[in-house]
């Protein structure tokens, strides 16, 4: 049997929870009768590629990486990543990849060295369960035999999806509840952000959902949304320091239970609602999400000043976790890209793989560039390359980008093995194939001097045969030449979702 590396599905990772979700009152929790941990242990014996989904037992202390190649002198800063790592306690293993507690990875780069540390986000949930030495709360999918009360979503906030620098702190992000404020020096959890504090909003923003995919404009302003499965979407406009400037509420009929990412242009917010619904008869938040091939994807275009709906578009049915960027042309039309799936199978595969199940024919996604025209019509082009974790240079967020970076799969397997750069100007795609022994995680561009033609692409990959994680730096102008720097940890890290670079 051919061994598969790099789940495309894994590329989709980073999708999390839209809690609080429509909840079932008076329904008896389904106990986890199958021993998922046992099944996963059996599977990992036969397939080393699963090591990135194994439980992590402790923090990683500071470790210098062994550098192959040359470390560019003009990279001096921190590369942060986040992802689920506490998948098991005792005999209990979570059933879905999105359920595990978040662990932060920090690579400090500069002066010819790269140093790494990894630390669990000590959320209230993590702290409680760490001292109890067992999971105490039902997850979105995993129901425990004995579980404690969940007063609100932050009770089970795992802070496991993304990490961004905000002011003097870092924010570790989930999507069902508050942002977790993290101390930069120690990577310690400080508190949940209360976005209305010291403002007219008071506690009215406390515990609201705050997605893991905020968009930060070149001026530093932070835009985000939060999704509640009753269909309400909160819109946030924050200062670079994380202080609330404006908040809006939009009611929709989108009640699938999960909305992961969104986009902005210089004038508008784009909420892109995929063709999914909730199966009311099914248990589990992720498990109950179904694709509806008769339901168009919907784009709600909202005015950034008023946070009110300006216009709407319907797209052919589809599903996406992630979008790279959007921009507006002079004629008022809008372009945006998505890593588009034909259905929502990917979401369920990320549960299957956690339970050690073989995935025969993994779901695939491709970059799709949509053009929302001023007259209400829509055009789109779908590229053939497999695509997940799309990213553009930070300074172009909401502005026209020439290049789109993403990871994907060249070897037709389960896992991502390659990185790509789409050039919208020349309609070309350049790529670098790590090889099928690697599981490639999100890569992010670092533009030098706000010029997307110059700079670096940085990202991690798990080398399966040697069970080590490496950090890779590419010159964006010569992507297909391969990394100019590859730096090795002596061990592997858990596969994560999203990250960001912050200059020192």
């Amino acid at each position: 049997m051919q061994r598969r590396y790099l789940l495309k599905a894994m590329a989709a990772v980073g999708a999390g929870l839209s809690l609080p979700h429509a909840n079932v009152f008076g329904q008896t929790a389904v106990s986890n009768t199958i021993n998922v941990k046992h099944l996963f242990n059996q599977a990992i014996q036969k397939d080393d590629a699963l090591i990135g989904l194994a439980d992590v037992q402790q923090n990683y202390t500071e470790q210098s990486l062994k550098i192959d190649g040359k470390l560019p002198k003009d990279i001096h800063g921190y590369f942060y990543r986040n992802g689920p790592a506490k998948h098991e306690r005792g005999e209990q293993r979570y059933q879905h990849l999105f359920e595990g507690d978040g662990m932060l990875q920090r690579f400090a780069i500069g002066e010819g060295k790269i140093k790494h540390i990894g630390k669990f986000v000590n959320t209230p949930k993590y702290a409680h369960e760490e001292s109890a030495k067992r999971f105490m709360f039902d997850g979105p999918d995993t129901k425990l035999t004995v579980s404690s009360a969940v007063a609100h979503a932050d009770t089970i906030n795992t802070a496991n999806t993304n990490i961004i620098p905000v002011g003097d702190d870092l924010w570790a992000l989930w999507e069902g509840g508050s942002a977790s404020v993290i101390d930069k020096a120690s990577l310690s959890f400080k508190n949940f952000a209360n976005l209305g504090e010291n403002s007219q909003y008071g506690d009215k923003l406390k515990r609201l959902p705050f997605s893991a995919h905020p968009k930060i404009e070149a001026n530093g302003d932070i835009w985000n949304f939060g999704y509640n499965a009753a269909g309400t979407i909160v819109l946030y406009h924050l200062s670079a320091q994380g202080k609330t400037k404006n908040v809006g509420l939009i009611n929709t009929d989108f009640r699938a239970g999960m909305l992961h990412d969104f986009l902005i242009t210089h004038k508008h917010i784009l909420l892109i609602l995929p063709s999914i619904t909730k199966d009311a008869s099914a248990h589990g938040m992720f498990t109950s999400i179904r694709f509806n091939k008769h339901q168009p994807m919907k784009v709600m275009v909202l005015d950034k000043n008023t946070l009110k709906l300006a216009r709407q578009y319907e797209l052919p049915p589809g599903f996406a976790f992630h979008f790279g960027n959007a921009w507006e042309e002079a004629d008022g039309s809008i372009y945006f890209d998505a890593s588009l799936y034909s259905d929502v199978k990917i979401l369920h595969e990320m549960s299957h793989i956690m339970q050690g199940k073989h995935i025969a024919k993994p779901a695939t996604s491709n970059t799709c560039l949509y053009h929302l025209k001023a007259n209400g019509s829509v055009d789109y082009q779908r590229l053939k390359e497999n695509s997940e974790f799309p990213r553009v240079s930070n300074y172009l967020t909401g502005l026209k980008n020439r290049y789109l970076y993403h990871v994907g799969n060249t070897h037709d397997g389960l896992w991502s093995d390659s990185i790509y750069r789409v050039d919208w100007h020349n309609d070309t795609v350049e790529s670098y194939d790590y090889g099928k022994e690697y599981i490639v995680e999100e890569h992010i561009p670092i533009a030098q001097d706000n010029n997307e033609n110059n700079g670096y692409l940085i990202g991690t990959a798990l080398h399966v045969p040697s069970k080590r994680t490496c950090l890779n730096i590419f010159n964006v102008a010569k992507l297909s030449d391969g990394p100019i720097t590859r730096a090795w940890l002596p061990y592997h890290l858990p596969l994560g979702f999203h990250g960001n670079y912050s200059a020192a």
Binding site: L19, P20, H21, A22, N23, V24, F25, G26, Q27, D138, S147, S148, A149, V150, A151, H152, A153, T155, D203, K204, L205, K206, R207, L208, P209, N228, A229, A230, T232, V234, V247, L249, A280
Partner: protein
């Protein structure tokens, strides 16, 4: 049965009683204690209180309809105390009862919620019935008071 989260939270306290300024509502209903000759005393013990700030608002309901309609048989407001407080309801007639409470941490007389109706202050129920993104079922909160002259103690912990 499914209840949307936001609505569910709104129904915890957002009813006829709670829509009035709570302290007033509490005072007007606190005279319902039974005068039946055979009667029992109830002690509600609330643990896990996070601070000495503010007050604990406690409501006692007789029967499911009253609970659902928010018509309390008795109520009490006590100063919050880090750790535990006990509240007594005396001379109750036999029947089915339920208790709910919240910790008014900022002492504004309101059970505060955010823009989506999610509580931003601690709350809890009799029997330590388990909240799960909203209130438990009535069946998990209810308890019986019989004709016997013994004191009942009902213990629970605040959910913050």
């Amino acid at each position: 049965m499914k209840i949307q989260l936001t609505r569910a939270f709104n129904t915890i306290f957002d009813n006829k009683v709670a829509q009035q300024p709570l302290s007033a509502a509490f005072l007007t209903i606190a005279v319902f204690a039974s005068t039946a000759s055979q009667a029992q005393d109830l002690q509600v013990e609330i643990a896990g209180i996070s601070s000495n700030e503010g007050k604990i608002y406690i409501q006692l309901f007789k029967g499911e309809d009253n609970f659902k309609n928010g018509v309390a048989a008795a109520a009490s407001i006590v100063d919050a105390k880090e750790g535990q407080v006990s509240v007594n309801f005396n001379s109750l007639s036999a029947g089915e009862y339920a208790v709910r409470y919240f910790h008014d941490e900022d002492n504004d007389g309101q059970f505060d919620t955010n823009f989506l109706g999610i509580p931003t202050e601690g709350y809890g129920f009799s029997n330590n019935a388990k909240a799960n993104f909203g209130p438990p079922n009535y069946s998990d909160i209810k308890f019986s008071v019989s004709d016997e002259n013994t004191k009942i103690v009902n213990r629970s912990t605040v959910n913050y």
